[in-house]
Amino acid sequence: MSTTRISFELNGQPVWAEVEAHHSVLDVLRNTFELYGARESCGQGLCGCCTVSVDGKVVSGCLALAIDLDGCSVLTVEGLDSGGELDPLQQAFIDCGAFQCGFCTPGFLMMSKQLLAQNPEPSESDIKHFLAGNLCRCAAYPEIIQAVQLAAHRMNKQEQV
């Protein structure tokens, strides 16, 4: 099968890959770059475990095609602590115990990151609405809501200082 060469930015680094037309974003992240934070669970874009950010927009990595990444900037959960420090959201998820098995956690983090970028002071109902497409079978939802609120609070406080 023929392959296409794509070039894009991955967690701040310029990269390239040879992909086939049917390869998903998940395929290229896992098979070419060995980044396993985005995961295939439902495979239908319904659970959010594969969420990554492409040019500042969250997409389902299991559905989005790798070939469309050409020229884009991609952020995955592995890029959140690229400076060696945890993102405030990651720290808040730890502090609130906002995960159990951890399989869905990267998806929730990427989605929450997007939420706080759009809405720095989300209400509980804003959080629920925005995270409605992410599923956590361990049901750490109450802790996830707390964690997003805590991260927002800490980030806003930091900005004021």
């Binding site: 934070g37 951890g102 399989f103 361990c138 049901a139 939802y141 109450p142 809501i145």
Partner: protein, 766 residues
């Protein structure tokens, strides 16, 4: 045995998960992420018939697809595993269908290919010709049906109480378990009131977010399975049996599990992965999609007929329970569910006359096995729903009715086992207190009516089961815990490290809990049934104590004073003159247990402990549409001493929210041919973040389990027990309509509301 330590140093305080950073950075290890050099990808072709003879399988077209390595059928499997049947209770499940298929979705053939997309595409090119046979789906019908799923029953021999079933023909009943006490017929004859109801639950799926996955590879010494399993020790044992190899040639390792909930227990994909790697002589990855999980293991649907005799004062004097468990096409661990949960079917009540009949029934549906609660949620649904119905009929407050009838400390349960460290009344009272049960309650008005309900359920810890652990102190004083307990989100690594730290008097940060690997971690029955804190907790406590004893001996041997602190680093340095050596302690734990009598179900000691969960619910129902909202959920458990409060709370909360799914909307929907219609999150809804009750709070009553490690017992399931019945009670309290089947969908309530006012919805629609 009193194993408590009065003042706990590490235990009892909240501590986050040891692997927290790995999980939030996406770097935690899951088998899902594993790739092996030269591995092949497997894709199964599944049966389209619920019950049929396989006449032919044509694999020629699939084999011709470029990139396909081979196509495997049962005939090929039998070249490497001549007796290809597996299972924990019955050896009834073939690795691939042999001669017949027994449910829609059963694996029939497998394509092995270099690429998963090619494997999938080629699997569609396999042609199977079937001769359809009559099928049976309903558990009550199947118990009597002439349509028989399996020609002959084949118990595994592991469990003594299944041996009598060997060779039995012409039946779908894979276990008939009973309890008898007093004279239940006489109790009915003498009762002031007799209540008889039938309650039903539906088949649901665990849907762990990490779909089931197993990889197998051949090594110099035998075979290695990398598998997302809750029971590595059992997988090793079963693969060794299938291959006729010693256990030492089979290595089973796992990593963090992306959820388990009972789905990844015993043996699932491992036997197939082993057969495929033996045939291909290359590593093989068998990974299911979310949809395929629905065809692999499920939770039993049930029909529960419950008949209760009550005297004039509201005391329960007799109870007859008949429970049919829809086991699907293969027994899996269903017969254990039938027995281990079956004996609690009369509920946590003091009843003098009891008859329980609990039937595990084969049907032509996907197999049912363990699911968080192990059958208990189905039983509580029935006995607590009926408790509310009786209380209402008798005009007694439902909490008071339960107080009158609950088993108290020191009283004998129906099986004869005396209740000990069982905080039933404590959980009930705390739940009622948190609900402000004695206070006036806003019942709403107009078309928005409010109601509330309370219930309490209990579970016996599955017994007898064994855990073995090892504790290795390094020469710098840091420590490894070797345990086969699988961390699937319940934070067992954290709790077990805390237990070792408590005994060894070192910081938990200095302890590494080694991921289960049967080459290096000792035997453990499995991670199931909320057993790990109790069993493995004891084994690690004993192992750590053994290490301390060895340090004391070394201290004496080195001529050091007896008041010198036990510091492994200092002792080893003195012993070897450098940073060298280890101190190794080991511990093994199996609780005392007496098997129930075959005729009466009686046992002096049927369980090491009772786990207890209560739930209080407030709902608001729209009387015009049947839509309802849960305004409040109060979950209360008795888990003995709380070893890590934050983790306990998340377990209780998680179990309760998960149970909301089964209570309210999850349902595997089959058509008349046994075809599953909704194997996808698009049509099978699990609780999401918008489904949370408006208020949800969790609590544990202060209890001390007399024989638990540091006074503790398990807590992974208790939050789920009483959720469903409390919702049904709250709906009934709000609008006077009683639902007796799960799930309690809004449309179901809508229909019931209209039927109740003699304006059935069907009529208005036509």
């Amino acid at each position: 045995m009193d194993t408590s330590h009065k003042a706990m140093r590490v235990l009892g305080a909240s501590r986050g998960r040891t692997e927290a950073v790995a999980k939030v950075t996406g770097r935690a290890e899951y088998i899902h992420n594993l790739r092996l050099p030269r591995m092949l990808h497997a894709k199964m072709l599944r049966s389209t018939m619920a019950h049929a003879r396989i006449l032919s399988i044509d694999t020629a077209q699939a084999r011709a697809v470029p990139g396909v390595h081979s196509v495997v059928t049962a005939e090929d499997v039998m070249k490497v595993i001549p007796q290809p049947y597996f299972g924990p209770a019955f050896h009834d499940q073939p690795i691939l269908a042999v001669g017949k298929v027994h449910y829609v979705g059963e694996p029939v053939a497998v394509v092995l290919a270099e690429d998963p997309y090619i494997a999938e595409e080629a699997s569609h090119l396999i042609e199977v010709e079937y001769e359809e046979l009559p099928a049976v789906f309903d558990e009550v019908q199947a118990a009597e049906s002439k349509i028989v799923v399996h020609d002959e029953l084949k118990p595994a021999g592991t469990f003594p109480d299944l041996k009598h079933l060997a060779g039995r023909r012409g039946t779908n009943i894979a276990l008939d378990f009973q309890v008898r006490k007093g004279d239940v017929e006489q109790a009915f004859a003498q009762a002031d009131r007799v209540f008889e109801h039938t309650f039903r639950t539906q088949q649901v799926m665990h849907t762990p977010m990490e779909p089931m996955i197993s990889l197998a590879e051949l090594t110099d010494s035998g075979i290695t399975l990398h598998t997302a399993t809750q029971s590595p020790s059992f997988v090793r044992l079963e693969i060794a049996r299938l291959l006729g190899w010693p256990e030492s040639r089979v290595r089973v390792r796992t990593a963090f599990l992306g959820g388990g909930f009972g789905a990844k227990l015993y043996i699932k994909l491992e036997a197939l992965a082993a057969a495929l790697t033996l045939l291909a002589r290359r590593p093989v990855r068998v990974a299911l999609t979310m949809a395929e999980q629905f065809y692999t293991i499920t939770k039993h649907g049930t029909t529960f007929k419950i008949k209760t005799a009550v005297d004039g004062s509201g005391r329960i004097t007799g109870r007859q329970c008949t429970v049919w468990w829809n086991g699907g096409a293969y027994a899996d661990i269903g017969p254990r569910v039938t027995q281990k949960s079956g004996f609690t079917a009369t509920g946590p009540y003091d009843i003098q006359n009891v008859a329980v009949d609990s039937y595990q029934v084969y049907t032509n549906l996907p197999p049912a096995g363990a699911f968080r609660g192990f059958g208990i949620t189905q039983l509580v649904w029935a006995y607590e729903s009926q408790a509310d119905i009786i209380a209402k009929e008798l005009g007694i407050d439902p909490v008071e009715f339960r107080r009158m009838n609950l088993l108290r400390e020191g009283q004998a349960h129906s099986t004869g086992t005396v209740m000990r460290s069982a905080g039933l009344i404590e959980v009930l009272d705390r739940t009622a207190e948190r609900m402000n049960w004695d206070q006036p309650f806003d019942r709403g008005s107009g078309t928005l009516r409010r109601g509330r309900g309370i219930g309490v359920g209990f579970k016996a810890l599955v017994a007898p089961t064994t855990s073995v652990a090892m504790v290795t102190l390094s020469a710098d004083g840091s420590c490894f815990v070797h345990a086969s307990t699988v961390d699937m989100g319940q934070a067992s690594n954290t709790t077990l490290a805390m237990i070792a730290a408590e005994v060894l008097d070192i910081s938990p940060e200095r302890i590494k809990v080694i991921a289960p690997d049967t080459d290096v971690t000792p035997y453990d029955m499995a991670t199931l049934g909320s057993r790990s804190t109790f069993h493995m907790g004891h084994a690690i406590r004993l192992a750590a104590q053994d290490a301390r004893d060895k340090m004391e001996a070394l201290r004496a041997e080195l001529g050091l004073p007896a008041d010198e602190p036990l510091d492994a680093a200092a002792l080893l340095k003195k012993r070897y003159g450098m940073q060298a050596g280890n101190i190794v302690g080991w511990g093994s734990y199996v609780p005392e247990y007496t098997s129930p009598n075959k005729e009466t179900g009686h046992s002096e000691n049927i369980t090491p402990n009772w786990m207890i969960g209560g739930c209080g619910i407030e709902v608001e129902v729209d009387t015009e549409t049947g839509q309802f909202r849960i305004l409040r959920m109060e979950n209360v458990v008795d888990c003995g001493a709380v070893l890590n409060p934050r983790i306990v709370e998340s377990q209780v909360s998680g179990a309760a929210i998960m149970q909301l799914g089964a209570a309210l909307y999850e349902e595997m929907e089959f058509d008349e041919d046994g075809q599953l219609r909704n194997a996808s999150f698009a049509e099978y809804k699990i609780p999401g973040i918008t489904d949370l009750p408006a208020s949800i709070r969790n609590d544990a009553v202060p209890m001390h389990q007399y024989n638990g490690p540091f006074g503790a017992k398990g807590v992974g399931e208790s939050g789920a027990f009483a959720v469903s019945s409390a919702i049904a009670a709250a709906i009934d309290d709000a609008v006077g309509v009683r639902l007796t089947s799960m799930p309690m969908k809004h449309e179901t309530l809508c229909k019931a509301l209209r039927a109740a006012v003699a304006n059935p919805i069907e009529e208005t629609l036509t």
